[in-house]
Symmetry: C2
Subunit: 441 residues, 2 copies
Amino acid sequence: MLNVEQIIYGRWVIPLEAETESDKSVLEHYAVVIDNGIIVDILSADTCRKKYQGTIEHHLDKHALLPGFINTHTHAAMSLMRGMADDLPLMDWLNNYIWPTESKCVNYKFVKQGTELAIAEMLRSGTTTFNDMYFFPDAAAKAAEQSGIRACIGLIVIDFPSAWAKDGAEYLHKGLELYEQYRHHPLITTAFAPHAPYTVSDDNLIKLNALAEELDIPVHIHLHETTDEIQQSLSNTALRPIKRLQQLGLLSPSLLAVHMTQLQEDEFEVLQRYGVNVVHCPQSNMKLASGFCPVSRLLENNINTALGTDGAASNNDLDMLGELQSAALLAKAVSGNAASVPAYSALRIATINGAKALGIDRITGSLVKGKAADIIAIDLDTIETQPVYHPVSQVVYSASREQISDVWVHGKHLLKERKLMTIDEGKVMQQTREWKESVEG
Amino acid sequence: MLNVEQIIYGRWVIPLEAETESDKSVLEHYAVVIDNGIIVDILSADTCRKKYQGTIEHHLDKHALLPGFINTHTHAAMSLMRGMADDLPLMDWLNNYIWPTESKCVNYKFVKQGTELAIAEMLRSGTTTFNDMYFFPDAAAKAAEQSGIRACIGLIVIDFPSAWAKDGAEYLHKGLELYEQYRHHPLITTAFAPHAPYTVSDDNLIKLNALAEELDIPVHIHLHETTDEIQQSLSNTALRPIKRLQQLGLLSPSLLAVHMTQLQEDEFEVLQRYGVNVVHCPQSNMKLASGFCPVSRLLENNINTALGTDGAASNNDLDMLGELQSAALLAKAVSGNAASVPAYSALRIATINGAKALGIDRITGSLVKGKAADIIAIDLDTIETQPVYHPVSQVVYSASREQISDVWVHGKHLLKERKLMTIDEGKVMQQTREWKESVEG
């Protein structure tokens, strides 16, 4: 018998490592063996019982075990503005609600406590990694670090002064400081996060891109979100934003292009050739009437497509299970093909594709030996997910967030039978109520 | 002090009676007073405490109280086939999975127990009335009656023999028998339910329509679901289905036209003129790639639009809260207008509009004096729905089914702190597992 740190026995284990579904995609009565936070074996429960002894053993005999979700586009702290203003056109929403509130309220504490609220929600809905973009990224990093979740923290760059930085040079400088602070952290990585082509100058884009290349970190940007963005870019530069980024040298496998609802025929080939990653945010795109991201065509063109919820002020949740269901359903409607983005693909979009986009797919995104134990358990033994003909279908089309019972990040048990283990839920609720008063005050 | 049967104190009461939202749409610290299953008063909590004494009193100080959801299109028993076959084009799905299973398995017991599973799920997600269409409607009616939920049971008519009836005459005859059996029932109503224009002959449509008029009950039909349906109808009859129904005399305020993803310019006027009700099933339409129902335009044209989940074999859940969120988001994307189908409208679509379509809006669908106490309570004091700036927004865009804590139908407490009071959940789970064996066997 080998002694190991932890064994999770699951009724089903769905590793999501293989690109396409097969009869090996769902392993029934299997176990995941963990040591030092790393998956050291995945084998049948029977064999496991003979071979390994865990210091801790979990028996989840009604549950499917999957890699945790990778929420590849968030503005975590904006959870404090959840539902503050809805059903409004984008510019009205920004000009009259979001921006005034940000001017009034956003500071280190707002971002720290807003991100705590967001992380609590994300862990309760199975997210083990998030990729954030917001002011005071140092506060977001601190919140992530304290909770034990994995995160890629965006080093925001925008041509406007904010409470965080006064100009491009200061955004870059503060970003580099944060990069230095976390470069050896086991769970926190960083990415440059220029807000959007229309809010960052050529000069700053060139500078941050050179730094990103030098440091080998990703670049995370809103791109081709709306028709307005395209029109404005054509008026100002005579180029579509993607063409402008191409000319500035930003298109690469390190780029995460978020939204991408506006794509011309020739742009699929460009994205494919440069290995650009697309981050799809279906609920945000619908809610703000931005358009439809052509996910099926992106996948057909071998363009890595990940999934994000966007901020809770525009979505209004950070629930990746709901989001991947929307992605699977909407792709069929948009492509006119009921077979497009099948359940298994939707799960890959929400996990391993996010890890690839962030350059951390050797560490997380699927359940295989050698990767970190970033694992979620979904209880399928409920009225809502019975009968279980195909666990993958039940997870994607029938389960909802409350069925996620347990979450581990790097082997650490962060959600245990629906209870947050590293976050004081009552304290987060109290902080949140207080922020509501400040925002409204 | 007046003695009454029951008082429900809620942090917020959202009656949904008024057509448009105002500052009276959300009543804070209010109470709903119930006697003999009927709402006898709605007033401020302070006044209520002075005026009424309830035999039973509920204090839901973290909850929003709303009228229960009206799921206006279901095939309840198909829950037993949930997730059996997904991600397939419609005809492959029907020919190779659904129809063979139905031939093999569908009988009284299948429908009774399948409907029990469905009702358990519906009550746990806030549905207080459902409008069903399936074989063995007598079994569905019995399941509804035993559970205490409100239901409109479809008297199915289809030109093909089934285990339920051998031909049009027998479908009609058995339908009439069921109508007679339930015509005085307080919670169960009936409607004729011709499956679709392409599966029911002119002759049978005329007959059932005459009967429906005579008995003053609705007619519930799938209509304009896909482009194929339209094309086939044009080839066979040189008429679009809606035109054919118009000529046969079926267009009226008693008609529930389900799906309606294919609408020409002139058809909006026709629907409006005849007072036809449309039932929107956004998730089913997306999943089967049927098309987009133009909900915003229907509402602009004053066409009563209700909401349904469709059967769990094609959706794959009966969760009206998820469905109304999809309806609100998708309408914005389809219309290109972020202001269309705001949260308040989405709730009306899921409640009072369904009651109107079924002709029971004097009895249910909103919280007003004189209507039945068909009420749900949604707990908004969770990480996922904090902070609460606008309860209506939180319900529509952030809450999910597990937050529905309590459900009453006609004053009877059917879900109490998440526990089903009239359904043995363990027995339903066991039956469901057994049916899975039969279906696969």
